[in-house]
């Protein structure tokens, strides 16, 4: 598992997946990268999983890979992942079965419904993960970095 002995190759495939070629030259088509700690340490511990769901390799530090491989892996991750980062909370209103949040994220403004307190999870001291009713995850990396209005809106519900 040590990153010192990187003897595999990653290639992008047509469908946004990866081709993993191990040291013996065996090709694993349609492999996919999985972040093991997507919120607490997103650039470390990335697992390459085969189409059958078997783990092929664990990359300990993304940065330790050769640049070309890193690029392939980062792109594959970017293509699969969708965790918008909430930049500001613009409005929170009561809905029949929860709260409608209007937010501005790094991927643009959006509105989603969260069902209750348990949809907001605290990971670490200031990091929050908001899970909406369609199971999309939104990340607030640091509560204190939000603007004052957003924090006030958040405080009322969390």
């Amino acid at each position: 598992m040590s990153t010192a002995m990187i003897n595999f190759t990653l290639e992008p495939d047509a469908s946004g997946g990866l081709v993993f070629i191990n040291s013996a030259g065996v090709r694993h088509e349609k492999a996919r990268p999985v972040r093991l700690f997507p919120f607490t340490d997103s650039n470390a511990w990335i697992s390459i999983v085969s189409a059958e769901g078997k783990e092929l390799f664990t990359v300990e530090q993304l940065a330790s890979l050769p640049d070309a491989q890193q690029k392939v892996l980062r792109e594959a991750l970017a293509g699969r992942e969708f965790v918008p980062v909430i930049r500001s909370i613009d409005n929170v209103s009561r809905a029949a079965n929860g709260y409608n949040w209007s937010v501005t994220t790094d991927r643009g403004p959006t509105v989603f419904l969260i069902e209750g307190d348990e949809s907001i999870q605290q990971l670490g001291d200031f990091r929050l993960v908001v899970v909406d009713d369609r199971n999309t995850r939104y990340l607030i990396p640091n509560v204190n970095a939000l603007d004052k209005k957003s924090r006030q809106r958040l405080e009322r519900y969390y």
């Binding site: 999985v34 972040r35 093991l36 700690f37 997507p38 919120f39 607490t40 340490d41 470390a44 511990w45 697992s47 999983v49 769901g53 078997k54 783990e55 664990t58 300990e60 348990e118 999870q121 990971l123 993960v129 199971n135 995850r137």
Partner: protein, 737 residues
């Protein structure tokens, strides 16, 4: 404020025994018996001092009878259970010289007493010089406290005990007090100013004799405004300071209560209901906070104001003051009467709330069972009963209350009328001016406006006292399992376990009846036997969740009781039938026993526990939330996480309590692979009903009714066709049907 407690007969005996102590003699333990020789209820007290064993009892209408025996002369004290009663024999010179009877409910205390007795005798045997010298012993000072001391503590006023919790913030307390006094003084200034406003400005103005007085009106207005502003400022500071203090005090109470709870043994938690404990730490401390920050401070202000106003009034005109303050004693008397009624009411209300919490904490986690048995209606009914109880107790309090408050208002009005009447008469006679009368009325209405809230203080004080008492009740429970009994630091154990004639009593029931077994380092023992045979109890003893009643457990040759508990438990890995996951991420749950574990360590543990592959498939990987509110995991998955948790701390001793019982055979196979990684090279005690789980065990130990009935390998035990063979046959029968 505290009722005088009824004199407990055993306390009288205790005090008597204390009076019979010799010079330098100390009481080390005591035991209350509740039967006499003919098995009639009758209380007696056996007291162990460092020199003697004493016995005191008081036959009906007679003087206390007292006997004592010198410790070195006593051969033995033997406890024997006879059904619902027990007998304690005192043997001296080889013969039975005395015996006490008691109901078997107190057998546990008797055991504890005997243990102290034996310890003391042992100490005397080693050091005979200690007899009848006044020398102190270094090894026992803390536990030797007067056993009634804690009870006495409970009885002492719980509100006064709150002061102890406020001690660290004495400066804040002093500031609060100064602000309170100044705020009250400021509030008293306004009527004083009004008095001269009326006499020196308004009345002359009305008689139109002296126009220039108009100028003074502005001066008075400015003064009154200034006083109002000052009062507001001081009140703000006062309220904030006191609220801050109240929060600190109650936060400290909550923390120390929770800390204390963590020190208590499993026995305590088995006895207590979760809802009740939660409501004590949550709701009761909140009552106290509210009391300090609102009621107490108001009351202090009111008392200060009362004294201030009374002083001012008497100095102006004693006769009018007397008339104005007349109703005060009547109100005081009424408050006293009502207090008694309310006291019981609030205690009942507090209990009713606990009861309701219990219903909730019982049925919400058990909701699957409720639905499965279609008992929703019954639970609703149960909740309704609990709620009705709250309703009734509050109703009772309200009944007293609703009469009381208007009654005080009536008395207040009567007081005011008296002031007007006496005042008018005095003005007419020229004893006082109109201004003075105005001032009087202002003062008095200010005073009586507070009487109602003053009387409310007693109700809230009563409620707070009840709440404080319930919190202190937890704090006063002596940890029956001292957390740092032994100071022996073991570091990493090799893992040799020896049970040496271990006996254990749970309440009146003897659960373990003499178990001797030596487990070599790295050996795996399979513990089998019918339910209730004492397997889990034996394991709990090895974990030191309980202490053995007799005999001893040795770890690497050292008595478990001499080891530092926390240090010892670091050597212990525990996998239970129902894996408990805390609310948090999977990574946090795996690292529970070693919070500083690196991510690499967590991954390695999860891989060894065969948990990595399913964690990989979760949307958030190791950052997935699990526990009560988190991601739903299957039983097998939860179990593998708990195995990873045990693996991560790399324990020397591993305890598997039915680790695979709650999962299907397919999952069991997966868990088994994880368990094999875990047990490898560690001393393991595994309890299992599925005997197949124990195929790797070096030896199987069969338990039957608190004793070991057979030991051997699977083959040996099958050949001997004893209990094990029977269990095995029964199991095959079940699985083949």
């Amino acid at each position: 404020m505290i009722p005088t407690p009824p004199i407990d007969p055993s306390e009288a005996l205790y005090q008597y025994a204390e009076s019979r102590l010799g010079e330098g003699e100390r009481i080390m333990a005591h035991f209350e018996t509740d039967l006499d020789a003919s098995l009639h209820f009758h209380s007696g007290l056996i007291v162990l001092t460092d020199q003697r064993l004493m016995h005191a009892e008081q036959p009906r209408d007679e003087n206390i009878r007292f006997k004592s025996w010198k410790l070195p002369l006593i051969d033995d004290l033997v406890l024997e259970e006879l059904g619902a009663t027990a007998v304690l024999h005192l043997i001296q010179g080889g013969t039975l010289v005395y015996e006490w009877r008691t109901t078997s409910g107190s057998v546990r205390e008797a055991d504890a007493f005997l243990a102290r007795f034996k310890e003391r005798q042992q100490a005397l045997r080693l050091d005979p010089a200690a007899v009848s010298t006044t020398g102190e012993e270094a090894d026992d000072d803390e536990d030797d406290e007067d056993p009634f001391a804690t009870k006495g503590g409970v009885r002492s006023n719980p509100l006064l005990r709150l002061l102890f919790f406020a001690k660290p913030w004495y400066k804040l307390m002093a500031l609060g007090f100064i602000l309170t006094v100044s705020a009250t003084a400021a509030a008293l200034m306004a009527p004083w100013i009004t008095m001269s406003l009326v006499d020196n400005v308004l009345i002359p103005l009305q008689s139109e004799q002296d126009r220039p007085h108009v100028k003074h009106i502005y001066r008075f207005a400015v003064n009154l405004g200034g006083v109002a502003f000052l009062t507001w400022l001081l009140n703000w500071g006062k309220t904030f300071t006191i609220a801050r203090l109240a929060e600190r005090v109650t936060s400290r109470m909550r923390r120390s209560t929770y800390e204390h709870l963590q020190k208590l043994s499993l026995t305590y938690f088995n006895r207590k209901r979760t809802g009740d404990l939660i409501s004590r730490i949550g709701t009761d401390t909140d009552h106290i906070s509210l009391f300090i920050s609102v009621n107490l401070i108001d009351f202090v202000c009111d008392v200060l104001m009362f004294i201030g106003i009374a002083g001012v009034l008497v100095s102006i005109n004693p006769i009018l003051a007397l008339a104005a303050l007349g109703p005060a004693p009547i109100i005081g008397w009424m408050v006293g009467r009502v207090r008694g009624h309310l006291r019981g009411g609030f205690a009942a209300a507090s209990r009713a709330w606990s009861q309701m919490n219990n219903v909730l904490s019982d049925t919400i986690p058990g909701v699957r069972v409720v639905k499965a048995f279609a008992q929703e209606q019954r639970e609703v009914e149960r909740f309704r009963t609990a709620d009705q109880h709250i309703f009734d107790t509050n109703d009772r309090v309200n009944r007293t209350w609703s009469f009381f408050t208007p009654m005080i208002e009536l008395l207040t009005d009567m007081g005011l009328i008296t002031v007007w009447a006496v005042g008018a008469w005095s003005v007419q006679r020229g004893y006082i001016t109109v201004g003075v009368l105005t001032g009087f009325v202002l003062y008095i209405s200010r005073l009586y406006g507070r009487v109602e809230s003053m009387s409310r203080f007693f109700a809230s004080a009563q409620r707070a006292a009840t709440a404080a008492h319930r919190v202190f009740e937890i704090l006063d429970v002596e940890p029956d399992m001292p957390s740092n009994d032994g100071s022996h630091k073991v570091g990493r154990l090799k893992g040799e376990i020896e049970f040496r004639d271990v006996k254990f009593r749970h309440g009146a029931r003897q659960v373990i009846k003499g178990v001797s077994l030596t487990i070599a380092p790295g050996e795996m023992i399979g513990l089998v036997g019918a339910s209730g045979a004492g397997k889990t109890t034996l394991v709990n003893l090895a974990c030191r969740f309980f202490d053995v009643s007799e005999g001893s457990i040795l770890m690497d040759g050292v008595d478990l009781r001499e080891l530092d508990v926390e240090d010892y438990r670091r050597n212990l890995g525990l996998v239970l039938q129902e894996p408990y996951l805390f609310y948090g991420t999977i990574a946090e749950n795996i690292a529970y026993g070693k919070p500083r574990a690196t991510k690499a360590e967590i991954l390695a543990a999860a891989k060894a526990a065969h948990a990595h592959n399913f964690i990989l498939k979760l949307a958030d990987g190791y950052d997935s939330m699990v526990g009560e509110r988190g991601q739903q995991l299957s039983g097998g998955e939860r179990q593998r996480i708990s195995i990873a948790r045990a693996l991560l701390i790399d324990p020397a001793i591993l305890i598997l309590d039915e680790a695979t019982s709650s999962v299907d055979t397919e999952t069991e196979r997966e868990i088994q692979a994880a368990l094999d990684a875990l047990t490898n090279g560690r001393t393991t005690i595994a309890i299992a009903h599925r005997l197949g789980t124990l195929r790797k065990a070096n030896r199987l130990v069969v338990m039957d009714d608190g004793k070991i009935s057979e030991i051997g390998t699977h083959e040996q035990l099958m050949k001997s066709s004893g209990t094990y063979a029977r269990l095995h046959a029964a199991m095959l029968e079940v699985t083949h049907v």
